[in-house]
């Protein structure tokens, strides 16, 4: 991989990072919103570095051609008076380019050429511009169906942030699915009994059955660490997979120990399609 290719790769990679953050919100499909400014900074840095590398390479070419124009002079100088040639500023810079930029190191390891593996840096570029991967959805929920269990934030009672305790009698509490399943699994006081809640997520029809799940992925950092939170709904017909819905309903209180429950269920009172889904993760 020569220096022009390295520079262009960096520019493209930086452009991919900038494209997915500034004109579009694509990056929200992959990483937390908090990464936005860092991605912009990294994108700017890569474009800048790439442009500088390309510029230095082209400047090197220009100098070489100018030298060629005065080729005879240069050769005379080089042959006749190497010392003074080396002392002149341009020659020093050229030496630098040869020794470091394009020359060979002491181990025969060429510093100007990057290893072939660096071409792979174009894969994220391809991914952004051609595939533009969507947020994880029903496929991931189905693929991880076995891992349904208590929610990741194993907080002790008293640390809930869902507003159920503050709710006035009869008030509908709007909360994340994460907050709902955490409350359902951990709250031994079972405050959710009879409490109307409003949850928003995407639909995942049950594979063999009439019910469906209202699901949302919880992300700590990026999609690779996404964790599935879902609520089972059986008293409404299953909508199409990956459509977004807001469901108002009440918790179906399970029998027996809360920690033994394999999944939580919601009795839906009202379902409403969400036309403009929010940040896909919560």
């Amino acid at each position: 991989m020569n220096r022009i290719a390295q520079g262009l790769t960096l520019v493209l990679l930086g452009a991919a990072a900038l494209t997915s953050t500034i004109p579009t919100d694509l990056y929200l499909n992959w990483v937390k919103a908090g990464f936005g400014p860092f991605l912009i900074a990294a994108g700017v840095a890569m474009v800048l570095l790439g442009v500088l590398v390309i510029a230095s390479e082209l400047r090197g070419e220009d100098e070489a051609e100018e030298e060629h124009g005065h080729g005879a002079d240069a050769e005379v100088v080089a042959a006749g008076n190497t010392v003074s040639a080396q002392e002149s500023a341009s020659a020093v810079e050229r030496d630098y380019e040869e020794a470091y930029g394009r020359g060979r190191g002491t181990q025969g390891h060429d510093h100007s050429r990057a290893p072939g593996v660096a071409w792979l840096l174009l894969l994220p570029v391809l991914a952004v511009f051609v595939v533009a991967p969507p947020a994880l959805g029903s496929y991931t929920v189905e693929a991880t169906s076995g891992s349904s269990g208590p929610p990741p934030e194993d907080r002790r009672a008293g640390a809930f942030d869902d507003g159920v305790e503050e709710a006035a009698p009869g008030e509908v509490v709007s909360m994340d699915i994460r907050q709902f399943v955490m409350r359902a699994w951990i709250d031994e006081d079972r405050l959710l009994v009879g409490q109307e809640v409003e949850l928003t997520g995407f639909a995942v029809p049950e594979k063999d059955g009439d019910g469906w799940y209202l699901a949302r992925l919880q992300m700590a950092c990026c999609a690779a660490d996404a964790v599935v939170n879902k609520v089972y709904i059986s008293n409404e017909p299953a909508p199409e997979a990956d459509t977004w819905w807001t469901v108002r309903g009440t918790w179906v209180e399970p029998e027996g120990e809360l920690s033994e429950v394999s999944q939580h269920e919601l009795t839906a009172l009202e379902v409403q399609e969400v036309t403009n889904p929010p940040d896909p993760y919560e």
Binding site: H68, Y100, F129, A220
Partner: protein, 360 residues
Amino acid sequence: MPDRTTPATDPGPPPSSSLGDSLAGGWADRGEELPPEDWGRARGRRRTGTVWLFALFITAMALGHAWISDELTSQAFLAWATIFTAISFQALPFLVFGVALSAALTAFVPPSAYQRFIPSKPSHAVPVAGASGALLPGCECASVPIAGSLIKGGVAPAAALTFLLAAPSINPVVMIATAVAFAGQPEMILARFVASLLAAVVIGWIWVRFGRADWLRLPTHNHAPGASRWQVFRESMLHDMMHAGGYLVVGGLAAATLNIMVPREWLLAVAGMPVVSVLVLALLAILLSICSEADAFVAVSLTDFSPTAKLAFMVIGPIVDLKLLAMQAGVFGWRFVARFAPLCLLVGLLSTFLIGGLIL
């Protein structure tokens, strides 16, 4: 001059041949290795070719965006692409930060500065390096190039390697993330800190005793005296970015594939077995290659596993994982990885069992 009217398409009879000869004279005078005679000749043409290649690539991407994007509907492929892109883009800011910091260390910090802060005796330098790992906020993508430039700056390799292991494991951001994930379980935070630091320092000491310099392949940058510091900075950043970045993508590909392919049900089947469950989560940490700042959230979600197994996930992940192995290979060479990774895994596991047994 006819050969200068179309320089971009055809440089004509190689213009740099006379320049190459004159430079060759200069090189020979200084007793340096000669550049091979033909390296400069086809360069102009090759550069033009490169530009055409990228123009073609961008055109192909535009066409692909218009025609192929809508055809890509395979759910499994899209989920894979999402996870691959997520790993790449999440690591990118850290990689750029690490590479820039490492280039700044190379260009602007004279080796004498390290000698003032880090003890010259390697066995003393190792704990100092381990403790200073607690200062650098970043994940493993940042620490690999930084460790490389520390070694180039004259820091004992064992100390730089200890820093490489400690920085992503116990830095403030990681500890805060762990505290948030394991709210109400301060013993887990303490166990993670102690086990990771212990493993990093012990590995450093083992490297002091048994490590050999020729296992590490470090490119020796011979900076010409005329190079300005900014040129050194630029070149060093480009070099690290290309090496570490390429391998980061390799690691991202592998991790995304395993993330999609390994069904979580397999994990639940072994969660109850005491020692096996620890080994399984250690293996999972290696395969998933989750950034150390996020691994606590994943660890806490593996609710069926014992605390020691979760600790193993958080201790092993930042010091051995696929993405990290590939990046270390890019910077230090496979000879190094073949020895260093098993050592890290072994010491990390021993440290996990010891600290897990004492604290958890």
